[in-house]
């Protein structure tokens, strides 16, 4: 039998994947083309044969197995989320500790600065005291010198 160029279209027709107008035109072709008509019959026979194969059904035990697996996945997701949260909490804790440590160090540094200022301030006062003593001594020397000269 001479093959037909339109044979690949038989699949489309068989699977009802041909648009409406194309389908009507192809039906006219099928009526006049023994090769395509035979191809269509072969496809229908193959579909019948495949359709006759038994389709296994899921038993209750197997369904329960799928349910268990699904539950395990959900638990796994929850566990992973919990692990992630725990890791995040640990990271926050470490960061908080580091921040507190830095804050303490800064506070200590700030406490030390007034000491330095205090010392500086005391130093100034000491200088001032030294200066006053020096002036007093100078006045005393000057006074004695005047008394001596008067004598």
């Amino acid at each position: 039998m001479k093959p037909c160029d339109r044979m690949p279209e038989v699949s489309l027709y068989h699977d009802d994947e041909m648009p409406g107008d194309g389908r009507a035109a192809f039906e006219a072709h099928l009526a006049s083309c023994p090769a395509c008509a035979r191809e269509l019959e072969a496809l229908r026979a193959l579909s019948r044969r495949l359709g006759a194969l038994e389709r296994p059904q899921v038993s209750p035990a197997l369904l329960e197995r799928f349910h268990r697996a699904t539950g395990a996945v959900r638990e796994g997701v929850v566990l992973r989320t919990a692990e992630w949260l725990a890791a995040a909490a640990a990271a926050i804790l470490v960061a908080a500790c580091a921040w507190l440590w830095q804050t303490d160090a800064r506070a200590a540094a700030q406490t030390a600065i007034p000491d330095a200022w205090e010392l500086t301030a005391m130093g100034i006062r000491q200088d001032a005291a030294v200066s006053e003593s020096h002036q007093l001594a100078q006045w005393m020397v000057a006074g004695l010198t005047v008394e001596d000269s008067n004598d």
């Binding site: 495949l50 359709g51 059904q57 899921v58 697996a69 699904t70 996945v73 959900r74």
Partner: protein, 188 residues
């Protein structure tokens, strides 16, 4: 997406385990039948379906719902089956293609003949390349449209058409004895 599935998916994304169980209940049979057709035995089919559900629920939040849940699950299952097929092929000692040879001469009764015919169809399916088997199974067993198959396999529609055409040709070549007998019966 079908209304019921859409609602279940939204609930499953929020971690509702009951919704996950409902999804399993609704699609287990379809997926198991499909897996059985793709991998050829019940034990592997059960494993493939379990892996499919596990993978689906792990990534349910990534499901953008552009296709139906059925198509999305089918896509995952086809990939799992292909992976298992590749792994099994490496370790397989006995080819299923020998089944018809083993059943030669055992057509004593109509029941045996029927069984032989079914075994031959299964063996012919097994002989197909994975990509040809996928399209044929999705079309013939699941009744999926070309667009749905294209979406499930992530290939263009034209590829589905050409693969389906070749798959059927190959099946008919493997089953040519039956076609010849059928023609003779019709003529006789």
């Amino acid at each position: 997406m079908a209304g019921v599935d859409a609602g279940l998916v939204h609930r499953a994304k929020e971690g509702d385990e009951t919704a996950c169980r409902r999804i399993v209940d609704r699609h287990a049979n379809m997926l198991y039948g499909l897996a059985y057709s793709l991998v050829g035995n019940a034990a592997d089919a059960a494993d493939v379906v379990q892996e499919t559900f596990s993978g689906a629920f792990q990534r349910i939040r990534d499901f953008e719902e552009r296709s139906s849940l059925k198509t999305w699950l089918t896509r995952i299952l086809v990939r799992q089956a292909a992976r298992r097929h590749r792994a099994r092929r490496k370790h397989r000692a006995v080819s299923l293609s020998r089944i018809p040879e083993q059943s030669e001469g055992t057509t004593a009764s109509a029941a045996d003949a029927n069984l032989d015919a079914r075994m031959d169809v299964l063996a012919a399916l097994e002989e197909l390349s994975p990509v040809h088997r996928e399209v044929l199974v999705l079309r013939e067993f699941e009744g999926m449209s070309y667009e749905e198959i294209a979406s499930a396999l992530d290939v263009p529609r034209g590829t589905v058409e050409s693969r389906l055409f070749r798959a059927r040709r190959e099946m008919r070549t493997h089953l040519c004895d039956y076609e010849t007998n059928a023609s003779e019966t019709e003529r006789g």
